[in-house]
C-alpha cells in the first residue's frame, strides 16, 4: 500500500497538481478549524474587546470566524463577560442547543474564575466551567485582541489533533 504508507502526517499531492490525497481526519479537522462560526455572546466589557477583535483592525473574518445569532448555527461559543447566576441557566440551555462538535472558549477573568467579583459577588458564577466544559481559557481583564486571537489559534490546534476514531471530549 505504497501511497497510504507515506501519508502519516502529510498530505500528498500528485505531480500534475489536480489530485490531493489525505486522510479523512485531516480533511475534516482542516475544514472545521478554518470556519469556526462563533455565537454572538457578549455579556460585559469583554464583549467590547471581542467586537474590536472582529472589526477591521484585528480581523477575525480572515480566520473564518463569523458571528451568528443562533446557537443552532455555531461551532464555538465565546463566553465573554461576567456570568451572573441569572444568566447561567440561560447559558446552559444555549450550550445544550448547540450541535456537536462544539467548543467553548472562556474569555476574560470573570468567565474563567469569577474575576474581580470572586470574593464578594453573591450573584456571580465563579467561572463558567462550573456549568459547561471549557476548551480554552483566555486570561485578561479584558484580554487584548492579540490574546484572544492566540486563544482561538490554540483552539484551532486542538481541533487539528482530533480524530474520528475518538469522540471529542
Amino acid at each position: 500500500m505504497g501511497i497510504l504508507n507515506k501519508l502519516d502526517n502529510r498530505v500528498e499531492q500528485f505531480e500534475s497538481g489536480n489530485i490531493i490525497i489525505t486522510s479523512a481526519d485531516k480533511l475534516l479537522n482542516w475544514s472545521r478549524l478554518s470556519s469556526m462560526w462563533q455565537m454572538f455572546f457578549g455579556l460585559a466589557c469583554c464583549a467590547i474587546e471581542m467586537m474590536a477583535t472582529s472589526a477591521s483592525h484585528y480581523d477575525l473574518d480572515r480566520f473564518g470566524i463569523i458571528p451568528r445569532p443562533s446557537p443552532r448555527h455555531v461551532d464555538i461559543i465565546l463566553i465573554s463577560g461576567t456570568v451572573t447566576l441569572k444568566m447561567a441557566t440561560r447559558i446552559k440551555r444555549l450550550w445544550d442547543q448547540m450541535p456537536e462538535p462544539k467548543y467553548c472558549l472562556s474569555m476574560g477573568s470573570c468567565a474563567n474564575c469569577g474575576g474581580p467579583y470572586w470574593e464578594h459577588g453573591y450573584h456571580v458564577l465563579k467561572g463558567v466551567d462550573r456549568i459547561i466544559p471549557v476548551d480554552v481559557y483566555v486570561p485578561g481583564c479584558p484580554p487584548r485582541p492579540e490574546a484572544l486571537i492566540e486563544g482561538l489559534i490554540k483552539l484551532q490546534e486542538k481541533i487539528r489533533e482530533q480524530s474520528l476514531a475518538k469522540k471529542p471530549a
Binding site: L85, K86, A88, T89, C113, G114, W118, E119, Y122, H123, L125, K126, R130, I131
Partner: protein, 159 residues
C-alpha cells in the same frame, strides 16, 4: 431655594408628616418625612409653583441602622435649578412606604430595585417584583445581615 426654606414651606402645609431637618452633616442637608405621607408631600413638591421638583434623580433603599431601613429621594428642578434630599425611615419589622411612581415615572424601576436588594415594600406600586436578581432568589442582599447562599439551583455560589 435652600433646603431650609423648602422645609419651612412644607411644615406649614403638612404639620405632622415632616420630621426634623439635619444640616450639620458632611453631605447635603436633608429632612425626614413619614412613610405614609410621602406620596402627598411628593405631589406638593412637584406641583407647587415656587418648588416644581419635576425630576427624581435617584431613589435608593438602604439599611439605615440596626432596626431601620430607609429610602432616600434626590430631587431636582429643571425650572428653578435647585435640588433637595428627602429621607423616609421605616422599621425593619414592617418596611412599608407609599409609592411615588404615580408622581415621577422614574420611581417605578428604582422602587423595584429597592424592593429587590433591601426588601422595602412599596404600597400602591403597579408591579412590585424583583428586577436585578433572579425571580426565585431568596433574601435581600444589601442588608447588613445577609448571608451568601451555598447553592443556587445546583451551582455553587461561593468561590
Amino acid at each position: 431655594m435652600e433646603t431650609n426654606e423648602v422645609y419651612e414651606k412644607l411644615k406649614k402645609v403638612f404639620e405632622d408628616g415632616i420630621g426634623e431637618l439635619k444640616t450639620d452633616v458632611p453631605v447635603d442637608p436633608f429632612f425626614f418625612v413619614s412613610a405614609d405621607k410621602i406620596n402627598a408631600v411628593s405631589l406638593f413638591l412637584r406641583d407647587e409653583e415656587s418648588l416644581q421638583f419635576d425630576n427624581l434623580s435617584c431613589l435608593s433603599g438602604m439599611d439605615y441602622d440596626k432596626d431601620n431601613l430607609a429610602v432616600v429621594y434626590h430631587l431636582y428642578s429643571y425650572v428653578h435649578h435647585h435640588k433637595l434630599v428627602v429621607k423616609v425611615v421605616v422599621p425593619k419589622s414592617n418596611p412599608v412606604v407609599n409609592t411615588v411612581s404615580d408622581v415621577w415615572a422614574a420611581a417605578d424601576w428604582h422602587e423595584r430595585e429597592a424592593y429587590d436588594l433591601v426588601g422595602m415594600t412599596f404600597e400602591g406600586h403597579p408591579d412590585l417584583r424583583r428586577i436585578l436578581l433572579p425571580e426565585d432568589w431568596e433574601g435581600h442582599p444589601l442588608r447588613k445581615d445577609y448571608k451568601v447562599p451555598e447553592f443556587y439551583r445546583g451551582m455553587k455560589v461561593p468561590y
